[in-house]
């Protein structure tokens, strides 16, 4: 089991290895995808074993995987696989066209693999100090991806990203310190005392005052990585400037990693402080994010920025769901994590294909994608509907669950507000993407050298949409079990 866990985290390092050996975009990308597939396989195997044997705890708590960690492992390794497949075509085309040098391509795969590995490792540690180290390391690895293209704008976006995220995560470290301090009554002597399972099991002995501060600082700190308003300012720039498969990783994997850390702190805070305080904190950050995300989506312009604001909105929805709490709220939140990750991967990867073909990231200049490139256009259209929560896709189900959780918790004000904001987001978002997909097609040459690359670009779009459709119609029994176990871990 330990070997499986380690392999899951180290799997994506095949990409950096191939890049170090001097492989070109195609080979390095395929190696990256193979590594991600290994990680995904290990995550599934690990989950099956976790369901049978309970959580894995080893190495003084430095290695700790429970159902919640396994669920996030599954989500992020799946996203990594989709993004790695998308990278083959995207980076290959950029390399062929001379937009990126061979060195930049190697840099890309080096940091892509490291980024994925650090994130996967986040879900496998119980030590909250190490969690901080890994989250910060994942920030640093992804910064290189944002600034890869080396233009003034991408460098600026990368700078903004690294400085805001590093500061945010440092605040989370202060929160972690206060959490440890709140446990002084427990006389933490060994490393085991600094782990999440220990602190959660002994939550009743934590000092409430400093725990309160610790929770707030952790939400602000890790919330910076999640992209909660008002700490979201790095997010649209970074998502818009990174190469599209890297944007998919940022939106669908990195934000979830931050959310995972928030969930861990939330569980401890709920266990000691009761429901009111954590709920107030999460609902305020969550609704602020939904409102700002929805309002900024109204503006037309760069379509990758649009998707980025939609991520802000969705992270807000997840925060609200966590705030509603209860089994229903947590179930909706976790389901939303998975569905949003799939939908955003599809959207960002299809936006990569669009920006390669049309050589622009402005929505105004793109029209007729559906007629010109049916697969990408279809993915863009269906992906938009999916991300907006229309049936029959998975997000409909998860958002419905969240709204139901809101009504179940008493006051109908919050769920009604949520529904209204979702409606606003729907109109704002669909207006732009519908304009891109429909209309007269523009003749665009295929940016890919051969049919194989084009097929590889289409593959993650089809896989992602199929998964979303399945999750909208029916939740597999295994997944349901995993989510229920995850909820049992944190309540």
């Amino acid at each position: 089991m330990i070997a499986l866990a380690v392999l899951a985290a180290l799997g994506p390092l095949t990409g950096p290895f191939a890049a170090a050996c001097g492989a070109r975009a195609r080979v390095a990308g395929l190696a990256q995808a193979a590594g991600a597939a290994v990680a995904l396989g290990c995550a599934v195997a690990l989950l099956v074993m976790l369901l049978h044997h309970g959580p894995l705890l080893a190495w003084n708590g430095f290695l700790y995987v429970d159902a919640l960690g396994g669920f996030f492992l599954l989500t992020v390794s799946g996203v990594t696989l989709l993004a790695a497949l998308g990278s083959v075509g995207y980076l290959g085309a950029e390399e062929q066209r001379g937009e990126l040098s061979r060195f930049q391509v190697r840099l890309y795969f080096t940091f892509f693999g490291l980024f994925a590995s650090f994130m996967l490792a986040c879900f496998e540690t119980g030590n909250l100090g190490l969690l901080f180290v890994l989250v910060e390391a994942s920030t640093l690895a992804s910064v290189a991806l944002v600034g890869l293209e080396g233009r003034a704008r991408s460098l600026e976006a990368a700078w903004k990203y690294v400085i805001i995220s590093s500061l945010g995560v440092t605040i989370a470290l202060v929160g972690t310190l206060f959490l440890f301090y709140s446990a002084s009554a427990l006389h933490l002597g060994s490393n085991l005392g600094l782990t999440w399972p220990f602190l959660f099991a002994h939550a009743h002995a934590l000092a409430p005052q400093s725990l309160r501060l610790a929770f707030l600082l952790a939400v602000v700190g890790y919330g910076t990585k999640v992209g909660l308003v008002p700490m979201h300012t790095w997010l649209p720039d970074a998502h818009a400037e990174a190469p599209s498969p890297a944007s998919a990783m940022l939106s669908a994997a990195l934000l979830n990693t931050g959310m995972y850390a928030v969930i861990r702190f939330l569980a401890i805070a709920r266990a000691r402080l009761g429901d009111t305080y954590p709920r107030a904190v999460l609902l305020s950050f969550g609704f602020a994010s939904i409102i700002v995300g929805a309002l900024f989506m109204v503006r037309r312009g760069n379509f990758k920025r649009l998707f980025a604001y939609s991520s802000v909105e969705h992270m807000g929805i997840i925060a609200v769901a966590l705030g509603f709490g209860g089994v229903l709220g947590l179930y909706g939140a976790l389901l939303q994590v998975l569905n949003h990750a799939l939908a955003k991967s599809v959207l960002f990867l299809s936006s990569g294909d669009v920006s390669l073909r049309y050589r622009t990231r402005e929505a105004e200049k793109v029209s007729g994608v559906l007629a010109a490139v049916p697969v990408t256009g279809g993915a863009l259209l269906l992906g938009s509907f999916a991300v907006l929560g229309s049936p029959p896709f998975g997000l409909f189900l998860s958002e419905l669950t969240i709204v139901r959780a809101g009504f179940a918790r008493g006051s109908p004000v919050f769920p009604l507000l949520l529904l209204a904001l979702l409606g606003l987001a729907f109109v704002a978002f669909a207006r732009t993407t519908a304009g891109m997909v429909t209309g007269p097609p523009v003749a665009t040459p295929s940016p890919y050298g051969d049919r194989g690359s084009a097929a590889l670009t289409a593959a993650p779009l089809v896989i992602g949409m199929a998964a979303l459709l399945v999750l909208g119609l029916w939740i597999p029994a295994g997944l349901d079990e995993v989510i229920r176990r995850s909820i049992a871990v944190i309540t």
Binding site: R151, S166, Y181, Q209
Partner: protein, 224 residues
């Protein structure tokens, strides 16, 4: 660190270190020369390593000794020297003019933030008489001042130094709040810091070059 009272020798020394670090953070906030930013940061890190050494003596902890040595070597010497060589000298930077507020305004804001730091750290949070109650407000103030200088300065190097000062504040709070942090985690935090600084150095020089190139481009266009 409940065992250490604020009136013991180690407690007094730690308190003193905290005050010195706060003063150096203020000095950094008040200066306008890139060289000074780096120098004040270096001095602050040396004081921090002294604080770590003090705790190491008080707790007879070999790990804290290593930590103090690492702080001195990396934060006190390596980062300031590298920042001066790779950034300030190579990019020929002298005077920072990109500030969003005047110096006096930012100093007044800094004073207000320090007062705020004392206000929020209540006895209910940290009991009186412990060294943490004396030092944590100071470290909080250092964190806030570092964040303030990140906000006030528009130049990337100013922001980088601001972040490093925030890190120093967190570290000071860390050694007084939790002395039992596992070494591997501390080492990881150090690694992150070094990697972060390297990454930022690359971006600072890239950005400065790009911007210099852009302005030269504009000049050419105007002439033509």
């Amino acid at each position: 660190m409940q065992g250490l009272s604020s009136s013991s020798t180690a407690g007094v020394l730690l308190d003193l270190c905290g005050v010195l670090m706060l003063l150096l953070a203020f000095a950094c906030l008040a200066s306008k020369l890139f060289n000074r930013y780096v120098a004040y940061y270096g001095a602050q890190s040396v004081v921090l390593s002294f604080a770590a050494a003090t705790t190491a003596v008080a707790f007879h902890s070999a790990e804290l000794w290593i930590l103090a040595a690492l702080t001195l070597a990396i934060k006190g010497i390596a980062i300031p020297v590298a920042a001066r060589r790779l950034l300030v000298r190579r990019l020929a930077l002298k005077r920072d003019t990109a500030m969003s507020t005047g110096l006096s305004t930012s100093l007044i804001a800094g004073g207000a933030l320090t007062a705020f730091a004392y206000l929020v750290i209540r006895p209910a949070l940290l009991p009186h008489g412990t060294v943490a109650a004396a030092v944590v407000p100071l470290s909080t103030a250092v964190i806030l001042l570092g964040a303030l200088s990140m906000v006030v300065r528009r130049h990337t190097i100013g922001q980088l130094v601001g972040w490093l000062i925030v890190e120093n504040g967190v570290f000071l709070g860390g050694i007084t709040l939790v002395s039992t942090f596992p070494f591997i985690v501390e080492a990881g935090i150090f690694l992150d810091l070094v990697a972060g600084v390297l990454m930022m150095v690359v971006f600072v020089s890239g950005l400065t070059r790009q911007l210099a190139g852009a302005s030269a481009e504009e000049l050419r266009e105007l002439r033509g």
